[in-house]
Amino acid sequence: MKPGIKSMKQHIAETDLALYVSGDLGLFRRVAVRFHAGRCERCSRLVEAYRADRVRVKNIAAEMPEGVDWDRLSAEMTANIRVGLAAGECVARPRQRKPSAMKLAVSWRPAAIAAGAVALLSVAWLLNMPAGTTDELGRALSAIVHGRGSVMNGVNPVADDDRRPVVVANQLGIELRENNNVMGASQDERPVSVSLSVRGSASARYVNADTGQVTITSVYVQ
């Protein structure tokens, strides 16, 4: 037999009776207690007392403490809860930026994929370009870089051994260079904008400050 349930003469431990009333004993112990309590007047009375105590505890727990003005306390708590919720919202708002930043990061993925696709197509397009056009494009780009440098440094960007025609677009305007000869197409004033085509042409747009007249100069290399 389990401790506490030795015989009818030896009563069940009170802790077991206390747990029995709420069904918190194991199966075998529960059966043993029921069997004993059914035949023992003292333990049976204790079981009833423990059942009554459970009701008492519930009643005590439902009693308002002495001296508490519940209406006032309730109103105060309700107001404080409102303030707490409002304060929580204020604190939460700046924190909500994090999810939006995550969304932004996620939205960049398709953009990055699209950029990669564009780069791939551009490379494919360049590879399929006629060799002459590719060379012209390379020279044009080189001319842009060196042309800006020449303005600053005063160095002739055209290499001596380069005898092929090159269109140069810089801050001064457009020039056609071939066999170390330079033909400028610049105006008196500096161009408002200079555009360069991958096909070997260049355009410069000038605006006369006095008259407002617009002049567009285009040079094509064939």
Partner: protein
Amino acid sequence: MSEAQGPAGGATRYDAVPLSSEQQTRFVSENQKRIFLLIYRIVGNVPDAQDLTQEAFIKALQRQDQLKDLEKAAHWLSRIASNTAIDFLRRAGRVSFSDIEDMTEPPRSAPEDSPEGLLLRAEHREYLNDGLAVLTERERTALLLRDVEGMPAEEVAARLNCSKATVRSHIANARVKFRKFVAREGRA
């Protein structure tokens, strides 16, 4: 907003979250007394119970999107409230719900056992003029969750972060002490 009256005119059942401002007010007013009394019985004094009740409602309303079953809103709120109160006791160092087996010293059977405990409790408590006063905080908490909130011992154990055997021990000791108190007072 969609809501329905509970059975027999009981607490309002809410069909959707988040609750509107009006529903939140109703939710608070319907549950405030019950939650306050639950926390009060656990912590043992009105000022702490007031603060913790407010904290529990704010937590619940801020996390209402976590409520899966709206019909169990009251139970869910009770869980938040009891956790808030238990955490408070832990933070205050007033009680440890560690397993009995892990204790190097046997738990004190009553707060009156030591002068320090008596002084500490005298500072904090102001009610405890009933049978629950003779219980330790861990015993009282376990008993309240089991008998008043109707939680199974397993759930009480989970709430108190200890084993089911420990919880059963707390509950049994609490009931035996309460019984002796009632018998001594001549109430039954």
